[in-house]
Point group: C2
Chain length 240, copies 2
Amino acid sequence: MKQGNERPLKLVFFESSLELVPQELWSHPSVYKAAWKRGKQPGKTLLDSSLHHQAIRQARLPEAEKRGRPDVVHILLLEALSSPLNEAGVLEIYIHTIGDYVITVRPETRIPRNYNRFVGLIEQLFEEGRVPPNAPTPLMEIRPMTIRSLVRLLKPTHTILYSWGIEAPRRRTREIAEEVQEAIEAGSTVVLLLPGYPHGNPRDSTIEVAEKRYTPLARLEAWTLASHTLALIADRLGLL
Amino acid sequence: MKQGNERPLKLVFFESSLELVPQELWSHPSVYKAAWKRGKQPGKTLLDSSLHHQAIRQARLPEAEKRGRPDVVHILLLEALSSPLNEAGVLEIYIHTIGDYVITVRPETRIPRNYNRFVGLIEQLFEEGRVPPNAPTPLMEIRPMTIRSLVRLLKPTHTILYSWGIEAPRRRTREIAEEVQEAIEAGSTVVLLLPGYPHGNPRDSTIEVAEKRYTPLARLEAWTLASHTLALIADRLGLL
């Protein structure tokens, strides 16, 4: 399945709900109180709707429904990294964020299971650009990058977007899995684009990079769409 | 699929890693400091290895590898409640805990997405016996109960244990899904037993209640075993 060092399935969570608190929110009481409690500057903490809900509403941030949900990305990463596809050398994981950064995640990364530690790690990643900061081959790296640049860089033969909130044919998850399996077994590389946020629809700039677009039978939570799609692909490949 | 009010698939997470801090740990510095910070008595807080790791080790708690991981149960619940099987009226969810309590979870429960709020909710559940405490029909209830009593109460026609760490035939997840589907479509009720802890093996008392026992192809994380098994069942039932 593995072709040299190349992992054929590139999973991209798009517009993921992961960002530092934007400057216009720094002076909001809920924001600086939460940051102060942790001994941090507001601009070095993650936007988190469970702490900053009021501030997000009052500031009328654009695309507010997608933002401040590191918990969603945490579960997506836990599910993707512990997928049999990752173990088998099939999967590569990328997090494209709402602020147009891309985080590359090495397959052997062990993400903290505890949410608060996960938040601390991602804050360090935003500050240092890589974690661990001084390792010769960091487990995660972040750099500014649009989804279009990422896909261009990955040079896939197939780019599949599977999401609610787009005008596209309905497909059962098993049909996506079948398409991915056939492509991989033919020696192709596939970029699979899944939403990295809880609510809202994909941006046009995301939709445009996908050569094929499908929508699932039902509106699932982002982590269910991801875990269930990975499960059916692993099943088709005989890994589950 | 639904038979009257009866939901045919009873998902039981066994020996789940959810308990209050046991008394022998109350005086450990890491325990009372963490409780004090939250303005709580140690015995009213959840055991959490991300806070109490040292105390757990020093006290040499039995089955330590299974304990203090509310984060595992959090993800299991998020995955189960947002499964298409729950939406379709197929699934009932039970959490049997390591201390022999059983938590019943109503299908319409919206579990907090944020980990710290989830912990607070479960602490309230342990204290009050139900949440919300004053609702006529609570979303979650807890009572002392062994896994044997729970299974007897549920009166299933099939009881299937799917886990690592047991001597049992290996089965692909799709085979489990097929067996569950066939039973449900024949009008039977199925108890499906999945591990609710990160490490360690099922107790004999758990193994004994299962009429059928299978082990997966690979050692997966508890949440991956759960989400992938639910995915394949949903697929078989045409819900995904």
